[in-house]
Symmetry: D2
Subunit: 402 residues, 4 copies
């Protein structure tokens, strides 16, 4: 019982409508740091359970709050006044029986290690032992949910009724937003322009054929001795993005970088650590990018936080990842103008049997719908059937979660 | 420069497409409690600033995390093992000059009082001094943002580039979800059926003319002596919702209540306090309902948390409320089949001058578009111009925020 | 093997030496609040274990830290800016087997309740739900210590090597300090002079026959409309203490009250809640009065915190209470000029078998020593033998712990 | 007005009485870690204020609580389950005017850095970024106290009425306790026997000429592969201490090491990090050694925590250090059998003018008292006059604080 429904949409595709709005919060954004910390902990727990007990046990660590620190920065450097504080919250299986022995899972230690490791790997100037205090309140799991979780030999049972959504292909505006951030946070780019910090927020609005791209880039104060240097970096970022624009879209694109700067007041977007979390910007899990990597109000969007949920039966995570996989396969195999994927789980039922699995297609040639419908149904069915092993790809980092 | 764009959409209305998915998290849901706590604090701060200094000062308290408690419940009652822990996070103006005297704002005290007051007013069985520990980490605001905030004599300047979205009218499915929760959490209903707790989650999926309504209702254990009583309440809730269904839609509606229950295992959705936060369910701000009161993946959705942001220049709040007002006025005055509103602010520019203000209309008679366009433009313009006084309506609780 | 040693001291009694210094921190002092919160929690746990399982289980909650709040006060009233924050720390047995069922102990709930109850009973103007946030970090106990704890059918085994000390009788200076605080915090006194808050610190120094009594009294701002009223209360307190002085000692006693006041700067010791914890004064467990009720640098003193330790095998608690009992009995039965009691436990040995139990006696007539020695040895032996049931008296509040 | 009182004591010296009890908590004891963290923060703040503003500003960080972690250890190694949590609490001057500019003091950053640095310098196996979460709640100081603090051009005014005590010379028992810990925690010893961790607690009781020395030594599990190795280390520690005993005292000394061990149950005092804080042992400031480096119930003892208080006007710190200096000078210059020093400050009066400064002397030849008295008075006067510059020696680590 998969309740699959493939429908032909007669509406205009998003490319045909005159407006679009798209956003991406980059690696170092406070919300992204929360997403990453939650997800890294879920993976660390999953790997630990797997390695020691052969299966992944119940956990849900999809809540965290980051309290921004306080710094003083100026051209040439700065100093930390108050460290960032990150509180990771959730549930986990804390104890397991091994034979007749109760064994304890090192949840607190995994939390600290996984967060620090992610920061080390992703934030060049944020020192995980100096700039951030990582605290946690993780309690042992609710017994009821563990029951749902444990009894399955077959497909796990959905922990909740929740949505998963996705769409494909990306519009040029969407591509531009995604790739701008990916470019500016790429290793190659950082080697060329190390002055560019990791907290990069890209926003685009399209009005007909005019795209306005607004980029906020946290600059690394210690690498920028003065205004001239800042202006050069600013210009260089613009040039690099302009190159990307040319490759991505024929539309007219205006590029605004750090529009909050106010040279008259000597106010520039300088940071010590590469993230605005260092000074007053707080964060939370699930408030940033969807599993598409984007925030897209003109597009189907689930409000579920994919990060931090367990990859076995938490449909708020699984269905968003699966929707993304389905959308991409439909795009690659069927080439519709647009495909929108909507999945809805049913609590207590196998995750492979959603309450509703709907794909809307916009096709160039509507006559193809009957054929396409069959193909899409097959893709959905296949991917739903694969849900019980989706955790492997998640642990191997095959999918974008934020 | 309001960058208004009214467009005629040729797509099917949501009523014409074969599927829909809609959700509402009720008053007592852990995410809703976080939303409410943040918003109540913002209002308490706003009122305090107004009363003492004649204007609202910078604050942003749009982050909070709730760590679920632990209880033991059974038919007839239960007991708290571990209280809920709620940490409210943000920034506020902590000190102000009055003449030559520095005066301190009682931020900590307002936090505790406003949260406890909301709980007292909204949760009959959650004792704010016994069942929940309310903590806070609210630091003084970032100086840069305060600058943006303070300098305006005219319209305040947008604090960020952020989205506001809304749509109207509601579909029958959407109405049903919204009104089901409103009914079950109404005073009259609680008088009749006090056994029904405040944590009510309503989810609907529509497939053509079939609506499946899934309702999770936290029952009050102390008022329910046994299974029979539980079954009766369960049945009575179904009946009441069935009555509502009849008034709301001619479609076929199946009603599932507490599908997570497992009578064979004697497992029922019983609570001590009326919220799942008491046992293992954590929460955050901005993870629940949009300013429409709903979660609607088939509809335009902003990911901004409206709650807790200041009502003066935080466009993540203002534009979502304004979009809602605009959508409702268009619905009432123009009667389109559908109106979708998308607003996008520009950081550092007056809040009255967004980067883009787009309304998509679906009209029965497309010939009316030119007239409608003018009317809608006028509505948008009027409401954007009213943004600098929108805070008054927010403080007076005229608008739904979650 | 009790290792009892009764010795005759040839030194001058404390009354003969020319100087003395004595202090008592009253009910509302931040350190006393911490002591009380820890001890109340230990008792609540003990009662819970007893009631449900017939015996007291391992716990140790002898650490807490209080972070002072912030207020604004003036004659006639005041307001809270930031609540007090109290973090109670320790270990407790969290789960117990009842038949084949694991049962959970409501540690978090007991913590909140017992602290709030103590505040309600002891602090008239400190509202436990408005003025203080009570948080806790109580983890499940160390397995090793539980082992020591659990295996005893006979006398419990000492958890540590630790000291207990006491002395008797009190000097006049000591009596004066103790009774001054007891008087000012008595119910009768509060009825007459409700303006006198609970945070009362009494300090005395004696130089030959001159005693200087320094009293700091937190006054209740809301009950004191102006300076005149304050002065009257100040005078009334002095008069009452002067009456007590006359009854207690023929020595010359000067009385200084609120010497920190600075009328020229309009600075008075006014409080909203009756405790300096409301504004900047932090606290901890074990930093205030010993089990004598006093701080007495000229006298034997243990540094162990008696509060919060479990009353079964924590010798840091038991030996201090027992030393006090022994000293009082010796005083009542033998009438020495002075008796000093020193007990030292041996980790892992029965609590009834200390490493050393020493009493020093100063006698008027040294010839009586041999008789006295036998009597004292008997008293010590008896009281050591009673240690396994000392918890009953502790739970029934027979003994001063702070 | 120094209120100096030198008195001749006719009592027996501590060496003449038949019993003694002495304790020292070593470097790695949870209470000592709290003492160190508080004191290091006070010094870091003091240095910062001095360097940037030429004087030390008000602060008081003499409260902290450590929540023990959780580990699993066995011969050969172990692993951390839950990190230690350390909360440092207090007051500090957070902002200062430099010209017309408000400058912020990096209190949070200094807290983290100074604690981590101390750990690195003192605990070989406790990784400050992996094994411990260092949090803080440090608020800006009470305005009233700052007033007392700021107005002095002359000697600072005492912040409180508080005691300082000391004595000299040390008895052999005291020396033995102090030096045993100092030996086992010396660099040379760690090079020879790295297996010996830093958490060393030494307790001695003397009965006539028999001293019983009880030593608890946290062993480093990773360096001890098996029981045999443990036994060898155990034996080697005993031998080294036995050598020390021979040099220190002719009395009979029994040495008990890790008496909590239970070989039958395979229970040994093994640690991952060298401190019992890793597993269940909590800590606080001011609960360990006095400024003598010892806990000595038979001796004068102040209950003030010297650590963390500011070194300018906090008499709870200054008078304890000064008492220690005075006692040592008297010992060196006058050679009494015993000298006991008691100082008591008067709140609001210059720190150089205590309420009472008493020294009790026990002299071999009482005829010398008159001469000695004059000398001692001169020493007291000199040292009291030096109090306003005592902070320099404290910052330079000339004095033992714990």
């Amino acid at each position: 019982m998969k309740n699959i429904m493939v429908s032909l949409s007669k509406r205009q595709s998003i490319n045909q409508i005159p407006t679009e709005m798209v956003e991406r919060k980059g690696t170092g954004h406070p919300d992204t740091i929360c997403d990453a910390a939650s997800e890294e902990l879920s993976r660390a727990l999953s790997r630990y359970y797997l390695e020691h007990y052969g299966r992944i046990y119940h956990h849900n660590v999809d809540k965290a709050v980051l309290v921004g620190g306080r710094v003083e920065v100026e051209f040439g450097g700065g100093r930390l006044l108050e460290p960032i504080y990150l509180l990771i919250v959730g549930r986990a299986t804390m104890e397991l029986m091994s034979g007749k022995k109760i064994e304890r899972i090192p949840v607190g230690s995994l939390t600290l290690d996984s967060t620090q490791q992610w920061i080390k790997n992703n934030m060049r100037f944020l020192d995980p032992s100096k700039h951030i205090v990582v605290d946690s309140k993780i309690r042992s799991g609710s017994i009821d949910l563990q029951a749902v979780f444990d009894e399955s030999e077959m497909a796990p049972l959905a922990n909740d009724t929740s949505f998963g959504t996705a769409f494909a292909p990306l519009t040029e505006t969407e591509q531009l937003v995604l790739e701008t951030e990916r470019l500016l946070n790429s290793k190659q780019f950082k080697q060329k322009l190390p002055e560019v910090g990791e907290d990069i927020k890209v926003m685009a609005s399209r009005l007909e054929n005019e795209i306005r791209l607004t980029i906020a880039v946290a600059m690394i104060a210690s690498l920028i001795p003065d205004k001239d240097h800042y202006r050069n970096i600013h210009e260089e970022v613009r040039n690099q993005v302009a190159d990307l624009v040319v490759k991505t879209t024929p539309k007219n694109v205006s590029i605004d970088i750090n529009t909050g700067d106010n040279p008259e007041k000597d106010s520039y977007y300088l940071t010590l650590t590469g993230t605005s979390a260092e000074h007053g910007d707080d964060g939370q899990v699930g408030r940033g990018n969807r599993t598409t990597g984007l925030i897209t109000p003109y597009r189907p969007q689930s409000l579920e936080a994919a990060c931090g949920k367990n990859p076995i039966n938490h449909t708020g995570k699984l269905l968003n990842v699966a929707a993304q996989i389905i959308a991409k396969r439909i795009d690659a195999e069927i080439h519709p103008i647009e495909a929108n994927v909507y999945l809805l789980s049913q609590i207590g039922q196998p995750i492979t049997e959603p309450q509703l699995a709907n794909v809307e297609l916009i096709l160039e040639n509507e006559a193809q719908f009957n054929v396409a419908k069959n193909d899409v149904e097959a893709i959905i069915e296949e991917e739903l059937d694969s849900l019980p092993s989706l955790w492997e790809g998640i642990l191997n980092d095959y999918y974008t979660l934020f």
